[in-house]
Amino acid sequence: MYEMSDIRKNLKVVLDGAPWTIVEFQFVKPGKGQAFTRTRVRNLLTGNVVERTFKSNESLEKADIEERQYSFSYKEGDSYVFMETKTFEQLHLNQEQLGEAVAFMQDGMLVDVLFWNEKPIGVTPPTFVELKVVETEPGFKGDTSTNTLKAAKMDTGATVMVPLFINEGETLKVDTRTGEYVERVRTK
């Protein structure tokens, strides 16, 4: 259990039967009044951020959260197979468990898998990945504007909004947190 004096950023706690992480906290106390700890917490299952206030005598259940690094091995039917980088233990995840990360999976990619009570609840791919364009409307030569965007389908299945000058076959750097195009990568 965590007491209020243990509260700090990134602490993982159980609230209403779900795992949450402390994003922000503030100790609030009128001089002659009762103390509260005001927090912003993020639900590790849904990503929702809400504000929660606790009384000074409350305690919070510690969430059994662990993050381990895996590398993506291969896809087998509907199942994505990963291997722990230290123990070489295998892990099978389905599309739903992968969430948004599913659109960026590349062979050998290193991902962080979050476990709650030993169950995988989230997969974080590297912040930036390099993906190849497999399908997009032909580029307009000389149009270097980055304001107008078009859709491009990437080799991993992700659809990314890209500038008009991008062509099929090009490799692009993409931010996996936002799914946004960052820049063109020169391939040797």
């Binding site: 609030v28 009128p30 002659k32 005001r38």
Partner: protein
């Protein structure tokens, strides 16, 4: 052309390159040309006999201190903590020292006597919402003060009519950007005066400190997590009753919230406090009698305590009372406080019989105020936390 000037420079060498060193002196960094400088000298203290020429300082003779045993600067060391961000920590320490000097000058001028009261006392106060540190190893049970109130009132009863203390206070479990478990309180009392006189003192103190530290009375910097909008600190400040504050900033009423004290403090700290005192500071007055603490009831409005708090940019800076001087009522309240602490499962501190004894012998009619000195300095210097105006916050011990 100015003639060459000789001086002895003292400081720490923090950079070496191209036959020159950066010497971090007490007054700030200096560039000194020194032919023998080499990289291993970084981190060493140096005394330099130097000449100021048209192209800067030139060292003639240098005495070096021992080389640091650790890497310099250590990432978690004190040098970076004080010299990082353009020496902000040092600037704030100077401002703090100036604030206490200014304060003492002002209060001496008003005829106040500075008193030093003990930090380890038999009773730290019985307020339900304050927790004290217990001190081990004394002859009798002792606690660190949460405020110097009991001893200062004994001095009032002993015949000192105007007194102040600038003292450390300790409050367990209070830690945040506006709280530190060890902090400095300015507490002062006037015999034969009422809360109104103390509010005027408060205005004058803050206004005087603002002028001394910032050269004006308009607060123009963000501090303690609050955004300043050019708050005018010069008095007179606004006055607002607790009931009106709740009605103005929330959809509740005081009567409704008083039914459950916890709801009152939740709404007060989350919805009311953050909106108080932005155009100019505000005194919140007319506290419900149930929240009188050590205040008397208001002579004209007995449903209320003769108590005030001042807020600047949503930050409480002080709490003052027209003091309760009736020993019978005081004993009854202390017994009630002990009972409330027992019921809440909190440590029940003893009643300070010598404090009550002073009231029984006779306390003159008086008013007092307790101001968070660190908070006021933090507000005036734009410090993000109260720890930033302390030489060592509790995180850095």
């Amino acid at each position: 052309m100015a003639p060459a000037r000789d001086e002895t420079l003292r400081g720490r060498i923090t950079w070496v390159g191209g036959g020159r060193v950066r010497l971090e002196s007490d007054a700030g960094p200096l560039r000194v040309t020194w032919a023998d400088a080499h990289e291993e000298m970084v981190g060493r203290w140096a005394e330099m006999d130097a000449t100021e020429t048209t192209t800067g300082w030139v060292a003639r003779r240098v005495t070096l201190g021992a080389a640091p045993l650790a890497s310099f600067p250590k990432p978690s060391g004190d040098w970076l903590a004080f010299h990082g961000q353009e020496r902000a920590a040092i600037t704030r320490l100077r401002a703090r020292a100036q604030a206490s000097r200014t304060l003492r000058d002002l209060l001496e001028l008003e005829g106040f006597l500075e008193v030093e009261t003990p930090l380890a006392v038999p009773s730290p106060g019985l307020d339900l919402h304050l927790a004290a540190f217990e001190v081990q190893g004394m002859r009798a049970p002792r606690f660190l003060i949460t405020s110097p109130e009991y001893q200062m009132k004994r001095l009032l009863a002993a015949g000192l009519p105007r007194i102040y203390a600038l003292t450390r206070c300790f409050r367990k479990d209070e830690r945040g950007h506006r709280h530190e478990p060890e902090f400095t309180m300015l507490e002062w009392y006037r015999a034969f005066e009422n809360a109104d006189a103390l509010m005027r003192d408060t205005e004058r103190i803050v206004e005087t400190l603002a002028s001394a530290l910032t050269g004006g009375t308009r607060l123009a910097i963000d501090a303690l997590g609050a955004r300043s909008v050019g708050t005018e600190l010069a008095g007179p400040w606004d006055r607002l009753s607790v009931a009106d504050a709740i009605a103005r900033f929330t959809s509740h009423t005081l009567a409704e919230l008083l039914a459950e004290e916890e709801r009152f403090f939740l709404v007060w700290s989350h919805e009311v406090e953050p909106k108080l005192g932005f155009d100019r500071p505000v005194f919140v007055i007319d506290w419900p009698a149930s929240m009188a603490s050590l205040a008397r009831l208001h002579p004209d409005r007995p449903a209320y305590a003769d108590r005030f708090e001042a807020y600047v940019c949503g930050i409480e800076i002080c709490n003052g009372f027209g003091e309760l001087i009736d020993p019978i009522e005081q004993r009854a309240r202390l017994l009630r406080d002990q009972e409330a602490r027992r019921a809440a499962g909190l440590p029940v501190y003893p009643i300070d019989e010598r404090f009550l004894g002073a009231l029984e012998e006779g306390l003159p009619p008086c008013a007092g105020n307790a101001m968070g000195f660190d908070r006021v300095v933090a507000l005036l210097t734009g410090a993000p936390t109260v720890a930033d105006v302390m030489a060592f916050g509790s995180d850095r011990l």
